[in-house]
Symmetry: C2
Subunit: 375 residues, 2 copies
């Protein structure tokens, strides 16, 4: 189903505050993300997906490290590092706010949380964007403190997630709106609870603010969740692709800009403030992109593999792009994948050939996403 | 001997240009380093060490990504990001040149290669220091191009390394001085050959300049190396600790400065040029450090484990520091480790207690390194 080797547990890679719990409750395979172990398989990719749809799951996403920006110039710096107009963000609100370089290419694609006035967290995907923000802040003499706080997210996913959250933390969780959060303290465990996560289903993200209490938090959720068929899960590849969610490093890279990968909606070129990449993005918005991301459905039997790397894609023998992530979706009963290809070929219904190490695959381009449901 | 789990091979983590060769020649366990798979076990840590001493080994260290700085202000920027006086470096010479933050803490500890006038590579350990250097360069308006080139190192280690290198690339390799390098082209494979590597024995590092030719380079070295008992190895934990070599992320971290970990020799506070951290380092050099790294020898039988994380260290029940990496050295017939502890306790001969999950260990502090030999 997926290719593995062994990984050695050594001090160079950090354990998440939930690491012992993930081992106790059956994590069987890992990757490394932001210099930390990230569990990615429990019983198996499909079984984990089935379990998710059954009740509620805990996902250790402690690897999502935060860049905290605090101080008199925090808003000014936060705005400078992202094309999203974050001046529209209220305290207690979160916004998907990618960090781009001066060419408009992705440095990282965090969700930003406005904790207080002049106080922000950027919840990172896999790159040391802390170094980028610190480098930028130093060079431009912003009066801010930029650092990595002791904050480690845990996601609560699945159809029963609201029931579990409400049972544990109180009725107020049910009123939490999409991409809104609240600071709280639960039996001495400090945390921020947000209604968001790495899927388009109803889900929550707990930002634990004391790394020594990870296993305590896990156990109390686990115990309360037994009546809701709780299980351990991990950021789910099937779930994610069905919903058209991208993974930085797998599906988009430094050489991609938001226009190419369907994220132009978060760029605000009209705002007065300057931000990194503004000039480059303005130019791209005028001249158009060279490449575009599409969904694709791969013909034939259920795929029994996850691809190990991006694969070349061609039309009539000419290379036109590359396949990023791919999975078999049991709900859709289809092999689905993302392809980034030259814009002139990015047409729904077009046939392409994917060059896999096990032979060529035939696929047809479709619109993204496959499943639009939003919790 | 060491704790493992499974690792999933997925497109989010890159393969090195030598990946197929490392699998073909028996890599059995990996870690992830700079977003790439790094093989770290072949037959087993001790067997790999024995093989190394027998002849010659190839180590895939393609994970050492390069930050390339090129352009009119390259020397000025290169000097600004490191406390080492790199104005003393000639073209064709390399220097260990750590990157520090404004508090003097480690961002990364690369070896710098002066490729040409106004043209440098910084060969990284495990952090996205590219983002740091790009952020700094942007803020301060240096006229340079800072990027990651297509360069992937391979190390040739072991007592027969000179014989192999000389056989393959020519007699001139024998005259290469320590930390000197030369650009060359071998049957159409472009590369830089340097006399250096991650040990204090005679060794070489080939900086392959075309990622598509990794397996071709590997195979030609392998074939030529059969008469010298060639084997595959990996950055060797035993070898490294015996020589007192540190690993960024295991033994030193962002919160450490060079004075604490025995690297003050590479700080030049007297130079006229400013560099990041200069003020902070000046202050530390005047007031002294709070912590210091020491070697320690752990009593009792041969240790059968590698530690999974840094372990707490105490004296008379008071926490005084932490143990970093540890191994059993067959050559020394000792369990050896690094400890960073409060300076007042950092005395040769002092007994300390290491709190391991399997029970307390007794250890005695010693000077670093255990083996001083330099090839």
């Amino acid at each position: 189903m997926y290719k593995t080797s062994k990984i050695v547990i050594s001090p160079r890679v950090r354990k998440s505050p939930y690491f012992d719990s993930t081992m106790k409750y059956g994590a069987t395979a890992f990757t490394v993300y932001n210099h930390m172990y990230l569990p990615i398989v429990i019983e198996g990719p499909e079984k984990d997906y089935e379990n998710l749809l059954k009740g509620v799951q805990l996902w250790d996403v402690g690897v999502e490290r935060q860049v905290e920006i605090k101080g008199p110039d925090a808003s000014r710096l936060a705005q400078y590092i992202t094309p999203r107009d974050i001046k529209k963000c209220e305290v207690g609100q979160a916004m998907y706010s990618p960090l781009l370089d001066f060419d408009g290419g992705f440095i990282n694609d965090p969700v930003m949380l406005k904790i207080a006035e002049e106080h922000y967290w950027f919840s990172l995907s896999d790159s040391d964007a802390l170094l980028w923000v610190q480098g930028i802040a130093a060079g431009q003499n912003y009066n801010v403190h930029v650092f990595e706080p002791d904050v480690s997210p845990l996601q609560i996913q699945g159809p029963k997630s609201t029931e579990l959250m409400s049972k544990v933390f109180g009725k107020w969780v049910e009123d939490l709106e999409f991409y809104r959060f609240k600071k709280t303290d639960h039996y001495g465990i400090p945390m921020v609870i947000a209604r968001m996560g790495y899927s388009r289903e109803r889900c929550y993200e707990i930002f634990l603010e004391d790394g020594s209490k990870g296993n305590q938090l896990w156990e109390l959720l686990w115990e309360a969740g037994e009546e809701f068929t709780i299980s351990q899960g991990t950021p789910n590849q099937i779930f994610r692709l069905e919903a058209g969610i991208l993974s930085f490093g797998s599906d988009m890279h430094r050489e991609n800009n938001p226009y190419e990968v369907g994220l132009s909606w978060m760029i605000d070129l009209e705002q007065e403030d300057d931000f990194i990449g503004k000039q480059a993005l303005k130019k791209i918005s005028e001249t158009g992109v060279k490449r575009k991301i599409m969904g694709a459905e791969i013909s034939g039997e259920k795929m029994e593999f996850f691809n190990e790397e991006n694969l070349q894609v061609s039309i009539d023998g000419n290379r036109v792009g590359a396949m990023m992530s791919a999975v078999y979706s049991p709900r859709l009963e289809k092999n689905i994948c993302y392809i980034i290809l030259e814009k002139e070929f990015a047409e729904v219904g077009k046939s392409v050939c994917i060059h896999s190490p096990d032979g060529d695959l035939e696929a047809k381009l479709v619109e993204l996403p496959w499943i639009k449901k939003r919790g």
